[in-house]
């Protein structure tokens, strides 16, 4: 793997995680304020933008690498998103949830490495 691929994979991960966090924030607000709210629309758009980047990067990476090679990185996203949801969205991250997320991450990585 070249340094360039590693950078692409990292950007893919970061944009994916950021998109998910924006989506969750927007949907949280929508249950209080309804959908027509301008703030919600801008947060949703802020989520769609990095998601689109991550979508095309994912395609580009899939053209170069096997799905099984890219999957471990996708596996990492489970634990990263759980942690980031706790930090940025103040979701309650119990020990049980953390262990569960870690096991899923490890399991997915093992599935793709073998």
């Amino acid at each position: 793997m070249t340094l360039w691929s590693l950078v692409l994979i990292l950007v893919w991960l970061v944009t994916f995680v950021a998109g998910q966090l924006f989506f969750k924030r927007a949907m949280e607000l929508s249950s209080v304020a309804g959908f027509r709210n301008r703030k919600i629309i801008s947060i949703l758009s802020a989520g769609i933008f990095p998601m689109t980047i991550s979508f095309f990067l994912n395609l580009g990476l899939l053209q170069r690498f096997d799905l099984s090679y890219l999957y471990p990185f996708q596996g990492l996203s489970v634990i990263i998103i759980s942690l980031m949801a706790a930090v940025t969205l103040k979701e309650k991250l119990t020990l049980q949830l953390t262990i569960g997320a870690l096991l899923i991450s490890a399991g997915v990585m093992l599935v793709s490495l073998s």
Partner: protein, 134 residues
């Protein structure tokens, strides 16, 4: 988590639907990306050349549908529970390849699948408790 609707609109059911969509579009994307891998060397890293494949367009329709389902799920279920549970798809892909395509699964891979299933069960427990509180 707010009061959740029942039946088809139940967010847990929708989460299941989301997983099915992801399963379908992941396979479509891989097939489409493979078919267009050699189109243009200089642009292939952006993934944009994938648009030449109809499979990618079909996958994109599924992705948009899936996005709407996912946003609906997020309205009711915390991200730190919904996202790990949605990764059940990572277990379903190799298992469906094994069942349908008769692909072999190495012992190490079975270990990974088992590990992920245990993790899913652990995450599902707080999810069940969340449900009870309603």
């Amino acid at each position: 988590m707010r009061d959740r609707p029942s039946g088809f609109a139940n967010p847990w059911f929708q989460l299941g639907l989301n997983v099915m969509c992801v399963l379908a579009y992941e396979l479509l994307l891989k097939a489409g990306a493979k078919a267009t891998a050699d189109l243009s060397k200089s642009w292939s890293w952006t993934g944009i050349t994938g648009l030449a494949s109809p499979l990618i367009w079909f996958a994109m329709v599924l992705i948009i549908l899936d996005l709407m389902i996912w946003l609906y799920v997020l309205k009711y279920i915390p991200l730190s529970i919904a996202f790990p549970l949605s990764r059940v798809v990572d277990v379903l892909v190799p298992i469906s390849c094994w069942l349908i395509l008769r692909e072999g699964i190495s012992p190490l891979r079975w270990c990974g699948i088992a590990l992920a299933i245990i993790g899913l069960a652990i995450v599902a427990k707080p999810a069940a408790r969340l449900e009870e509180r309603l």
